[in-house]
Amino acid sequence: MSALLEVDAVSKSFPMGGLLSREQIEAVVDIDVTLLQDRPEIFTIVGESGSGKTTLARLILGLETPTRGEIRHLGQPVGAGRFGAQRHAFMSAVQPVFQNPFEAFNPLKRVDRYLASTARAFRSLTRRAEIEAAMDAALVDVGLSLEEIRGRYPHELSGGQLQRAAIARALVCEARILIADEPVSMVDASLRMAIVNLLRRLRDDKGVTVIYITHDLATAYYISDRIMIMQKGRVVETGPARRVLNAPQHPYSRLLKASVLSAADAGQGNLAPAQDLFEASQEALEVARDSRMIDLGEGHSVRRAG
């Protein structure tokens, strides 16, 4: 089993203030992830705001260069050269899906041009008919069709349609990996399921690997194979999604789970914060520097002090 994508001890820090300033923000610290080629999966990253999820996604997409460590796609380092052929090949295989479907399309431009452009650039298609066929195929995969999309402006489509069109665009170039950074956080409850179900279907039917970044643990549980929980740039727990979420080990993971509002006790107004878990996770954060990942078996590992 060869690796599709390897994130190898990657760290990223941003300088704060001017050039002379020594202050740094450690947005991502020492992250290892390996996605395998012949096992398409939905790999979920969750964590609090500012824990480095987006930064990690950007690192993988080659939009930032790691401070330390390396990211490889099919063995090739990512992010070498901004417009080179290698980058081109990479982009045709690894594609992002953005958070806000309304923002992801230029409101002043027609939606279909992004699909056409992708087809032309990464599939080396030139004939109109070919391009349209590729577009249509991708749109059908997400439950749309070219007829519905053609000539429309973003505001003429619903959020769900747009988000699907965005995914279809990523599929036009037959991407193997989709990196979806909070793809449903801006979408209402009824659409949310449509998108999430679509991601699942893509994995199952088309063998697409999805890196799914979210705050919503419930959808994470619902679709993902593996999960990675981050706190302040560090991974605190990782493993098979269900196993981890059913019995989280790290205090922060537990806090997360405890904070998920559930409809189960609808009407009871169960909003009491889990103060003890909060404090425990703060403590864990303080000692994070001197901690390491402990393997709990079945790919489940958790950060422990020592």
């Binding site: 300088p15 203030g17 001017g18 050039l19 002379l20």
Partner: protein
Amino acid sequence: MRSYAFFALKRLIQLAVVVFAGTSAAFLVAHFSPISPVETIIGRVSGQSSFSPAAIESLRATLTELFGFDEPLWQQYLNFWSRFIRGDLGPSLIAFPTPAMELVMRALPWTVGLLTVAIVLAWLLGNILGGLAGYYQNSRLLKGFGVIAIGIQPIPYYITAFLMVVLFGYIWPVMPISGGFAMEIRPAWTLDFILTVLWHALLPAASLVLAGIGTWFLGMRALVSNIVTEDYVTYAELAGVRRGTIVGGYVIRNALVPQLTALAMALGGIFSGTIITEQVFSYPGLGTLLIRAVNGGDSGLVLAVSCVAVIAVAAAIFVIDLLHPLLDPRVKVG
């Protein structure tokens, strides 16, 4: 704080380089001028009395040597810089050997005084009215003002100024139309003098304000009509925050940063306005000096005036860059 100092230092270096480049351009401009100060002076001296051709020839030789025109251009350029570093811009050639800087400094207060006041006034009025017009979009009065502003804006400044002169100097002669102060009053820091200066500055300043206000008005109105749709404005309105506070502290305050940048440019680019003002109102200042220098081929003086202009604009950019992080808390230093 340290990072701010470092940021300021970087800007300062940039300022220096901009000044260097701008001044060098000014030097070339001044020196490629086909007008020779030597000939200007000879024309003046010999044109009005009976000078023999031979006498003119020897005067020409003397002046050429005196002005250092016998040296090659690069040498003159080096000389210029070695003087510039010592803060000396060299002598004026049509007022030889008076230092060009002395002439500039004599004229500068008038130009800076009048134009600063007028531009700042136009800026304030235009922005306040534009802010109000952007906010109270249904006010008839302000709408009317908008139409007037659109109408005034394209009128060449010369016409505005000139009509002022005709109106208040000729048809209804209530205002002085020339000079910076009344002849009876000697320049000194007395109340009388200050009053006469203000009185004489009124008409030119009004013409500059009139010419500038439309642009600021329209710019501000456009900015504000974007800002009023921002959530924080709506929210403040829904919270019943006082109208005045909303207009001032929310709407205009947020539109201020781009308008301030533009103000700095306007202040830096003082010269295009000053020439016509001085021409029309016989007002003292740098514009007349520049025209005289250009017409006389006085490269020293052209250079001095241009340097002041370059430094003014570059300094304006510098100050705005420095102020930007302070004005807009969102701007990160670095």
